[in-house]
Assembly symmetry: C2
Homo-oligomer: 222 residues x 2
DNA sequence: ATTTAATTTTATGGATCCACAAATATCGAG
DNA sequence: CTCGATATTTGTGGATCCATAAAATTAAAT
């Protein structure tokens, strides 16, 4: 997709995420096109893509509105990621792990081990953790070797807060956040262990549990 | 979406399903537009939607090609449906079933009971079963009450053979197919039982198993 | 003859135009 | 003043036009 359209799509995504376009707000082609300094065409294209992603929905016979996401929807998005990544982990555990994947996973665990050992959790390290976390999840996905699963997860990740990377780091309580990272790291270790041992059921269950870290672990760590 | 675009999308879906556009085939806007008797605009729109659905993929810098689906992909699509519908069943089982849902499920089971009791499995009854089956799955989905899950399943169903309704009915072996329907009916009954009893874990597992009926049950029933 | 450079062809992305449908505003009648 | 009918505005979907970037073909040079 040409530059313009791609950029319109990602700008719209950002705007919706950041609430610049409120849930329920009418999305009209012309105003947005003018605002972005493009013609209606790429905006129309973007609307279709964003509709597929679940960020927009058709409003009656005419036009789109920003879809409103309930708290329930967010939880569901996280559960969906849980079952899908669980499936990926299971599939990876069901066959021998390639040397390449093993190295990548080991490197990943080592990197987060270093991070956790440091003990402090400054603003700067958030980015590092986020990077490592993303790497971890994409290695598993790659190890599952299924385009279908990768696609399903990618689509789900478009939902706000559903992606594995969107652990909202509360900079007000750095110690609680650090605890979360410690736990996530431990879970990563256990998942890798299960995969190496070919324990596919355990790998799946651990990965499903791991998805909940963003929503269910908060209250015990304050 | 206006009639034309919708119809282009569904026509293209059909054509790809039926192999009229082979995997890997270049999809060019103008020829298809002419073939369908429309301008390039709705075709361009359709390509974007079909790309999101995973039926097309970008070919290098320019244009789309039909994505090729491996046997592995089909199996994965079915597993994905399994975990997603399993999640739906679990969520439905986790809360009290509304009177409306109870009635719908009962009616559905009764209808398939009648079908199975007949004992014969003529061509004509395939449509009936397909209808009942679809009803069953959409009641569960509705009962889960999650738009996110519904969306994820809808997207996954675009993959060939991934949808719950695509039990390929082999008219060469009607008795084997009839056995499959019998089993599916039994599984439906067990799932409903688990949901009524609030046994969410069992409901999830049964639904996951139920997804496999299309691929794993064939060899024992010939 | 083969490879490379240049030119032509072709296909896509973006802009604009047009027609139609839906929403809104205006006007008239009760 | 309110309700309804009609007119006007507004916004979307589809068609067409234009510019640009690939692809293909031809030409040229070694």
């Amino acid at each position: 997709m040409s530059q313009v359209n791609q950029s319109v799509i990602s700008q719209l995504r950002r705007f919706i995420r950041d609430g610049a376009f409120q849930p329920g707000a009418k999305m009209q082609e012309l105003p947005i096109a003018e605002q972005f300094g493009v013609s209606r065409t790429p905006v129309r294209m973007a609307f279709r893509v964003l509709e597929q992603e679940g960020l927009l929905e058709r409003s009656g016979k005419k036009g789109f509105v920003v879809r409103s996401i309930s708290q329930e929807d967010v939880v569901c998005g996280i559960e969906i990621r849980g079952v899908l990544e669980g499936l990926a982990a299971r599939r990876m555990a069901e066959k021998p792990v390639t040397e390449q994947h093993r190295q990548q996973l080991n490197a990943c665990l080592q990197d987060s081990e270093v991070l956790v050992r440091k003990g402090d959790f400054t603003e700067a390290l958030i980015a590092d953790w986020s990077d490592i976390n993303q790497r971890f999840h994409s290695i598993i996905l790659d190890g599952a070797g299924s385009r279908a699963i990768a696609d399903a997860i990618a689509r789900n990740n478009h939902l706000p807060f559903a992606s594995a990377d969107s652990i909202i780091m509360d900079t007000q309580h750095p110690d609680a956040e650090f605890r979360k990272v410690e736990i996530a790291h431990l879970q990563h270790q256990l998942i890798v262990q299960a995969i190496y041992e070919g324990d596919s059921v355990r790998a799946e269950m651990l990965m499903r549990e791991h998805a909940y870290i963003g929503i269910k672990y908060g209250q015990f760590l304050g």
